[in-house]
Amino acid sequence: MREVDEVIEELERRVRERGVRVEERVALLRLLACDEAREQLDERRRKLIEGVRRAAATLRGELA
């Protein structure tokens, strides 16, 4: 097993022990196995904050 898989497995075990948002956090952990893990997380982060800004702009527009 690759080292990164071992680390992911260990972290996944900890996630399951805590039992909070297990599915989402395990999905994030699986990203770590990709070469572009950092880029993918950054992209997801960018889309989420964009979603917040877009929704806020829509609400402003509705109340304008």
């Binding site: 680390v7 770590l32 997380l41 989420l48 979603g51 929704a55 829509t58 609400l59 509705e62």
Partner: protein, 725 residues
């Protein structure tokens, strides 16, 4: 089984023109004086594995900034380069082959392939993937944990970041560190801060806007009061009622002006935007459909033209009557043209006869005068001078003839001729005058006919067939046009009035719609949470916050895992590091140096400290620094080998700055490691070389390189002897 290098063949690589040697399963020692090709031999191995990653700036080794891979011949010209590295694997011997043709550009890919034991050949990406799958290290790991480059012997320890990474690697925590960095590098805390700032800005906006709709509603109500719509009359359906009124008035206007307007439906408030669009366009459409202006222009123009034609008929008729009367009077006085022409013809004939009689008389008188003159000069006044016939009293008779009445007759003939000529002239003048008057009457008649024709053009079709007097018909038509113009002018006034009323109604409708929207906004702003956009925002906030919380939690877990692994492994690794350091320095009983993890806000960092817990690097001399660097490298390699990961160690002149005692200690440490994983050492003659060459355990191959011939500096490295123990 992890791959183990067993043979290397090189051609045209740096100090070597050509060469090949076997590598021992335990220890390979390459010995030779400076400049004999030792470093080139070990560099060839890593160049075969890593290619351009191990060259120039990409290598991360400053001393390689101007590195030339190819061997330069006597003329300083580089040729083809090829290195073949044989690896023993569980399936047999695989060969890595890297070739670079002479003249290759810095960005050109090398020709790299892997010849597998089953004789298949992998190239390019497949070859690199095979290396990864076989557990061969990447360049970074190689640099840090498996190869001591003589250029960077101590550099790894002097930069704190590199040192921490190096020590984390020694503890086998690189992947933990990398995972933690990826998770925390996404900056979940900053994401939460960004979300907070966005929500804060939105709250400020919302608070400002909560007050605005009520003010807007009041302003709308003041505007409506100015349009005679008092507040008590305002109701939600007012816009709909006003719109229906507008449509009804438009329908009535169409009926009055004779056209059927296209009107939108107006059953509910949803249709008001379409109605508003129609309201804006209605004035233009109504004018187009009614065509009042165009029709009025046409009727007025027709009326003016018909009136002008009618005005022209009377004078033309008067002119014709006068011409006709004058011509009739002339005919009565002189006769008609034909009679006058006949009389003129007769008068001309009489005049011509009188003129002929006068001419004959003139000729006879001339003859008599001639004869009298002849006789006056003749011999015989009684004889004819021509025929000599006798004519008694001829001369006397001639004189008598001339004297008796010839003059009177001639005068009478001349008078007659003059009278008849005067008669002809009189008749000619009369005939011309009569003809002119007749022509004038004809011209006046033609002018009158043209005036009638012009009039007929403006009369309704079929007028000519009706037999009605054109003038009377024209008068009737003029009256009809007058009525039309009056009707159309009235229609235009109606249209103008209706459209003025429409503009006023439209303004009311727009004001009521603005008021209604203001009311709805005021209702919405009182409770923005009922908006779908609010729910969308909450969902976006929840998703972003959950992502930030997940990253934060996972980063924390990664840190915990790293700390736990660090604690578990520190003792074991420190023991191994202490062993190697003790062997090199000869102080095997002392704890020497050890790795210690330290938690910081940025994560877990590692440093070296002594037994008393103090950082040691600042106090170490060069030999001790080299010893620590080598001990770290050997400990790392041992860690990898014991963990079953591919490990073979290359040490290029590791004895630098070490005295004989330390070199002997280093030899012991190398032999200890060589019993665990293959080690290749390049070293000049000296204590280290002697100890490594003389040793028996573990097994080893010794390769002695010949000194460089000063007379042939470009000749290339040569193997002087090979020995296997």
């Amino acid at each position: 089984m992890t791959p183990r290098p067993v043979r290397i063949e090189l051609r045209g690589f740096r100090g070597w023109t050509e060469g090949a040697f076997e590598l021992d399963r335990d220890l390979t020692v390459i010995v030779g004086p400076n400049g004999c090709g030792k470093s080139s031999a070990v560099n060839a191995l890593e160049w075969c594995l890593f290619g351009r990653d191990a060259e120039l700036k990409a290598s991360g080794i400053d001393e390689r900034a101007d590195w030339e891979v190819a061997h330069l011949d006597e003329r300083g010209v580089a040729g083809d380069v090829e290195v073949r590295l044989a690896l023993e694997t569980g399936e047999g011997t695989a060969r890595l082959v890297r070739r670079r043709p002479a003249g290759a550009k810095p960005r050109d890919e090398d020709d790299f392939s892997v010849e597998l034991p089953d004789e298949s050949v992998l190239r390019g990406v497949e070859a690199v993937q095979w290396m990864g799958a076989a557990g061969l290290p990447e360049w970074g790991t190689w640099r840090r944990a498996l190869c001591q480059h003589q250029e960077t012997a101590r550099a790894r320890l002097t930069a704190s970041g590199d040192r921490s990474t190096l020590l984390a690697s020694l503890l086998g925590l690189e992947t933990h560190e990398s995972a933690r960095e990826v998770l925390e590098g996404c900056k979940p805390g900053a994401l939460v801060k960004e979300i907070d700032e966005e929500v804060g800005a939105l709250e400020r906006d919302l608070l400002a806007r909560l007050a605005r709709p009520a003010e807007e509603q009041e302003e709308c109500e003041r505007g409506l009061a100015a349009l005679d719509l008092e507040r008590e009359r305002l109701r939600p359906t007012l816009a709909l009622e006003l719109a229906r009124g507008l449509l009804e008035r438009a329908r009535a206007l169409g009926a009055e002006l004779g056209f059927a307007p296209e009107l939108p439906d107006c059953e509910s408030e949803h249709e008001l935007p379409r109605v508003a669009d129609w309201v804006a366009r209605w004035p233009e459409r109504a004018r187009e459909a009614a065509r009042v202006d165009a029709r009025l222009r046409r009727a007025s123009g027709l009326r003016a033209k018909l009136d002008a034609a009618d005005q022209a008929v009377g004078p033309a008729e008067e002119r014709w009557r006068q011409a006709r009367d004058r011509a009739a009077g002339e005919v009565r006085a002189r006769g008609d043209v034909a009679t006058q022409e006949r009389l003129l013809s007769e008068a001309r004939k009489a005049r011509d006869e009188a003129e002929a009689a006068l001419r004959r008389d003139d000729a006879a008188r001339a003859l008599v005068r001639d004869a009298r003159e002849v006789l006056r000069h003749a011999h015989d006044p009684e004889a004819c001078p021509v025929c000599a016939a006798r004519a008694p009293g001829l001369a006397a008779r001639l004189e008598a003839e001339l004297a008796a009445g010839g003059e009177q007759r001639h005068a009478a003939l001349e008078d007659d001729c003059g009278e008849r000529g005067a008669r002809v002239e009189e008749l000619e003048r009369g005939l011309r005058a009569t003809r002119e008057l007749v022509q004038a009457e004809a011209d006046a008649r033609a002018s009158l006919d043209r005036a009638h024709g012009a009039l007929s053009e403006f009369l309704p079709a079929g007028h000519a067939a009706s037999g009605r007097d054109p003038l009377a018909a024209a008068r009737a038509e003029l009256e009809r046009l007058e009525r039309d113009v009056r009707d159309l002018e009235r229609g235009r006034r109606v249209l103008d009035d209706a459209l003025r009323a429409h503009h006023a109604d439209a303004e009311r409708l727009r004001a009521v719609q603005r008021w209604r929207e203001a009311v709805l906004r005021a209702e919405r702003s009182a409770d923005p949470t009922s908006s779908p956009a609010w729910r969308e925002l909450q969902a976006a906030l929840d998703a972003a916050a959950a992502f930030a919380a997940d990253l934060e939690a996972l980063g924390g877990m990664a840190r915990e895992a790293q700390e736990r692994a660090s604690e578990e492994r520190e003792r074991e690794v420190n023991e191994r590091l202490g062993d190697h350091y003790g062997r090199i320095t000869g102080d095997e009983g002392a704890a020497g140096v050890r790795v210690r993890g330290k938690r910081t806000p940025k994560g877990l960092t590692f440093d070296l400290e002594d037994a008393r817990g103090k950082r040691v690097l600042a106090t170490l001399n060069q030999a001790a620094l080299n010893s620590v660097s080598l001990a770290l490298l050997l400990a790392q390699a041992e860690e990898r080998a014991r963990a079953g990961r591919a490990a073979f160690v290359v040490l290029d002149e590791p004895g630098q700055s070490l005295d004989d005692e330390h070199q002997a200690g280093l030899a012991r440490a190398i032999e200890h490691l060589a019993a665990i994983c293959p080690v290749i050492v390049a070293t000049p003659p000296g204590a280290l070389a002697e100890r490594l060459v003389e040793g028996r355990e573990p097994s080893r191959r010794v390769l002695k390189l010949a000194p460089r011939d000063p007379g042939e500096p470009r000749r290339g490295a040569r193997i002087e002897s090979r020995e296997e123990r």
